[in-house]
């Protein structure tokens, strides 16, 4: 890294970490993060998966369920439905709220009341859910306008539930994770030897190169191993469940990580003051 972070100098315009966005679609963003450390890239990856808050159904009251599916089975399926979570920033976590058991500051109410009248089986989709807040709706993929299938009903069967959606993070339950996956890759030619390829005869013949291999020069056959080399370019693809736009996941993850560090910095400053040691003033703003 070419950052002299101990000289007290701030980053110059040209130096420091670089970002190059390759592709943006409604559910994915592909970008390259370069000139930074593996630990920074990995922290970003971990936070995107586990600590960006979204909204998901967390508590389900069954008024009536005469379907063939068990209550807890349906409750689990409801929990996994992606819900558009722009409002998550304005919502309290359950533990931040003094209400009991829930209020509109910390939850969104969904109701589902369906019954099958016809001879044919009826499919219940996430679009049948009725939200108490117009801004908080189940995410519907443009290619699949009915939404997620929840259950199928035969004639005379009924399903009537009240579902409470809450704010949470993927750390607590994967249903709150905003990403279906984060593709994370570095060093496509394995110059750093962070991995070993299992092979029968020749690893190079048996393992196809990754699509990212064209981005970096291939090593020469006689190139000696550079034991001081460090990974510098990180290839990310963030795929969203639909709860948040993929680019929002990235920026919110950076915010979450910065808030964590700011909290540690604040507490360290308090300890330093109490012990009469120098307090380092923050040189950033959130």
């Amino acid at each position: 890294m070419n950052i002299d972070h101990h000289s007290g100098l701030s980053f110059t315009e040209a130096g420091g970490p670089q970002i190059a966005i390759k592709e943006v679609t409604p559910t994915t963003v592909t970008f390259v993060l370069s000139n930074t450390d593996l630990s920074v890239a990995n922290a970003l990856r971990r936070v995107m998966i586990a600590e960006v808050p979204t909204i998901a159904i967390d508590l389900v009251d069954f008024e009536l369920n005469t379907t063939v599916l068990a209550d807890e089975f349906i409750a689990h399926r409801l929990g996994l439905i992606p819900i558009i979570s722009h409002q998550a920033v304005h919502l309290n976590y359950r533990h931040e709220c003094t209400c009991s058991p829930y209020c509109e500051e910390c939850s969104v109410l969904f109701s589902l009341d369906v019954s099958c009248q016809s001879e044919n089986a009826m499919s219940v989709y996430s679009t049948h859910l009725v939200s108490s807040s117009p801004a908080v709706q189940p995410y519907v993929d443009p290619a699949n306008e009915k939404g997620v299938l929840i259950a199928k009903l035969r004639k005379g069967q009924q399903l009537h539930v009240k579902a409470i959606a809450r704010k949470g993070t993927g750390k607590e339950h994967a249903k709150w994770a905003p990403c279906t996956g984060v593709a994370f890759e570095y060093d496509p030619h394995n110059k750093l030897r962070h991995t070993t390829y299992w092979h029968e005869e020749d690893a190079r013949k048996e393992w196809p190169l990754s699509a990212k291999a064209v981005e970096e020069p291939a090593p020469r056959d006689d190139e000696p191993f550079d034991y001081k080399a460090k990974p510098e370019r990180f290839y990310f693809t963030v795929e969203s469940t639909g709860a948040l736009p993929p680019t929002t996941i990235v920026t919110q993850a950076l915010d979450v990580l910065m808030r964590k560090l700011a909290e540690v910095h604040r507490v360290l400053g308090g300890i330093a003051e109490a012990q009469g040691e120098p307090v380092v003033q923050p040189t950033y703003n959130l």
Partner: protein
Amino acid sequence: MSNAPAIHEIYLLPDGVDKVVETKSTKIPNASTFHLEKEDHTLGNLLRAELLRNPKVLFAGYKMPHPLDHSVDLKLQTTADTSPLTVLQEDVNSLMRELGLIKKRFENEMTLHNMQSSDPNGMPYTVDRAYS
């Protein structure tokens, strides 16, 4: 399931518990252990790697003492001209600047990308369109 730990123990700092506690080493000069409550490898590895790049740091390492304790112990020894507490504050500071820069550059790239991928009608393509 009656003895299952409550799920909020992963992220919720209980009342009266400090986020960070510094324990100075009684045996090694200029060395401390910082106990970070409700944190994991995300912050532990990030801080350790940043500290190791600092020439004033003689030793930096971290561990999660137990899989059911959601805390991190960060061990740090520095040169005599400074203290672990000062060095940790400086390095948290520089990490914040780095992440701030990543965020700024990501947002700049997004603006640029939106302009480049405008459709023929001159409407900028935005990912938010699917959400409107």
